[in-house]
């Protein structure tokens, strides 16, 4: 282990988020069956599994889009049966989407600025008149956003309408918007899907930098095994909605059930 890795390992703290016995079904389809898993502060936590395994559903449960029929979610010392998207966002969890969910008609800058929405408090009237606190607020947030834009190296596209950007860059904007919320926990749903090698490397670097510089806890869904094994501290493996493995990359690699699931299903 190099020094950086050792330092990283030392930072990993206690459990911040835990799902216990979560089950979620859509009609007859069991997206998740009795899944338990936890996330520790500052770690990079991966979720893998074949298509339809329930990975995205997992994020949707955490972020309050889906309401599980069974199980509990422990977060920040409290126990929830399900989550509310607005409260989740307020409490410092942000996310990106598997199928890009950007505000396509808006500029890159506006998309990322919208991530600051929760941190803006001036009332509508002041905003409308663009005076006093409202204007100052807009400028302050703009500075943070410019920082993120520099960090993700998308300066050149600030004013471009998001819908016109190539896919790889849209993925970056999606990440930028989530980062603008300054989250404690960042949920990433296949941030590297559809990218070429070089774009993937960039994205990996960004994710590790975020984790490193801001201490952000990262929950990551990814299909590319080499990426997952490379950057994550612990890996959860799902198959048909069931947990079939959970542990460090090495442990998971050696897990018989995991090997079978991956050999049995082609992607």
């Amino acid at each position: 282990m190099n020094e950086k890795a050792i330092e990283h390992a030392h930072r990993i703290g206690g459990v911040v988020l835990a799902l216990e016995g979560v089950s979620l079904a859509f009609g007859g389809v069991k997206a998740l069956s009795d899944v338990s898993f936890d996330v520790r502060e500052h770690e990079v936590r991966a979720i893998i599994g074949p298509n339809g395994a329930g990975k995205s559903s997992m994020l949707n449960v955490i972020n309050g889009v889906y309401h599980p029929q069974q199980g509990t979610i422990r977060y920040l010392g409290r126990e929830y049966h399900d989550m509310d998207p607005h409260e989740v966002a307020m409490s410092g969890i942000s996310r990106t989407f598997q199928n890009l969910a950007l505000f396509k008609g808006m500029s890159v800058l506006d998309n990322i600025m919208s991530g600051r929405n929760l941190k803006m408090h001036s009332n509508i009237l002041l905003q409308a008149l663009r005076i006093g606190p409202a204007l100052r607020e807009e400028i302050e947030h703009r500075e943070v956003v410019e920082g993120i834009i520099d960090f993700l190296e998308i300066q050149a596209y600030r004013k471009t309408q998001v819908g016109r950007l190539p896919y790889g860059l849209q993925k970056r904007v999606d990440l930028a918007r989530a980062l603008a919320m300054e989250p404690r926990i960042l949920l990433l749903d296949e941030p590297m899907a559809g990218m070429n090698m070089e774009e993937k490397q960039d994205m990996c670097r960004f994710i590790l930098d975020v984790n490193d510089e801001f201490g952000t806890t990262i929950v990551l869904i990814e299909h590319d095994m080499s990426v997952v094994m490379d950057i994550s501290d612990r890996v959860l493996v799902l198959d048909y909605g069931k947990k079939i493995g959970d542990g460090t990359p090495d442990e998971v690699r050696a897990n018989q059930a995991v090997i079978e699931a991956y050999l049995g299903v082609s992607h």
Partner: protein
């Protein structure tokens, strides 16, 4: 290019219709400008109401059939409350009522129905329409009421140096059009430049993503319905003062529908341009096309103003269903 010929043809026909009266000398320039101006002034009001409609459609995907009834309801409130108190107090109070209405609609109609089929929501706004029409009468009566803005209604002569005979404009109409135009401009600025406006646009683009960054959908819906209520109030007061507050107001306001079909449901620019096209178009058609039709086909004449907007909207649906500025509806999987 070839794909666009139906739209281009329709546009060309409209344009020819617009210039024909003046080009053929059928109308004296002064009179022509007077009709044009009248059309624009009426059109701004359509734009305003259509804007309320487009906002709701963008932010919640709801086809708000009740927009016309909201105009009537607000106008009734102002007219009847205005009998007991100064007009500005009545307007403020009516605004409070419209915001309360927005809140109630969000609570009782939108929230429970949000994940249902689109048809369910459309039916619900139809329900709201008839409820508002009826409930307005229950509260405030079904007579014809007056709103007096205290601006002279007599026409004044302007530009009589430029055009022979000058141009007659009604001062109240003129002020009303200015107010409406100012309001349209402020709404556009609000939408483009404020953080709440940004949140509104975000919700319009993608509900899920908007939620994930902590924008509360319910709050946004209350805001857009309140804005629609405000727009309805202003339009209701202006039309109420011009035409009297009566049941037919909701029919006038329903012209917002053809306007948004023309402009594109989700487009702010479309609502504005559409309003102006329909305002000018129907005036021109009424004044210049009407007499020709009467002569050629030996008709009773008149009434073009009542159907022109809808026929134009129908034609647009045929040649360009997404409207002038609307986006093609592509369902993503």
């Amino acid at each position: 290019m070839s794909k666009h010929w139906p739209v281009l043809t329709l546009g060309a026909v409209l344009l020819v219709g617009l210039v024909l009266p003046i080009a053929t000398g059928a109308s004296p320039p002064g009179f022509y400008v007077e009709v044009l101006l009248g059309g624009l002034m009426a059109g701004v009001l359509y734009s305003l109401v259509a804007l309320g409609f487009a906002l709701i459609f963008k932010a919640s995907g709801v086809f708000n059939f009740a927009q016309g009834s909201m105009v009537l309801f607000a106008a009734l409130a102002v007219a009847r409350l205005g009998e007991q108190m100064p007009l500005w107090v009545a307007m403020l109070l009516a605004m409070v009522i419209m915001v309360a209405l927005a809140w109630l609609i969000e609570r009782l109609v939108l929230r429970p129905l949000v994940n249902q089929e689109g048809v369910a929501l459309l039916m619900a706004t139809l329900g709201v329409t008839y409820f508002l029409d009826g409930f307005g009468q229950t509260l405030w009566g079904s007579g014809i009421y007056k709103i007096d803005l205290g601006i002279a209604k007599e026409p004044v002569m302007i530009l009589d140096q430029v055009f022979q005979g000058g141009i007659l404009v009604n001062k109240e109409d003129f002020v009303a059009a200015l107010v409406a135009a100012g309001l349209v401009a402020s709404l556009v600025l609000f939408f483009q430049k404020t953080s709440t406006g940004r949140a509104l646009r975000a919700v319009a683009d993608d509900h899920q993503a908007a939620q994930s960054i902590g924008i509360p959908l319910n709050y946004i819906w209350v805001i857009v319905w309140s804005v629609a209520g405000f727009v309805a109030l202003v339009a209701g007061v202006i039309w109420g003062s011009q035409l009297g507050v009566q049941f037919s107001l909701s029919q006038v306001a329903l012209k917002a529908l053809p306007v948004v079909i023309l402009g594109g449901f989700t487009s702010i620019a479309g609502a504005i341009v559409g309003g102006l096209i329909i305002g000018v178009g129907e005036k021109m058609a009424e004044v210049f096309l009407g007499p020709v039709m009467v002569k050629v086909f030996d008709l009773a004449g008149g009434g073009i103003e009542n159907w022109f907007a809808y026929v134009l909207a129908l034609l647009f649906l045929l040649v360009r269903p997404e409207g002038l500025f609307g986006e093609k509806n592509i369902d993503r999987v």
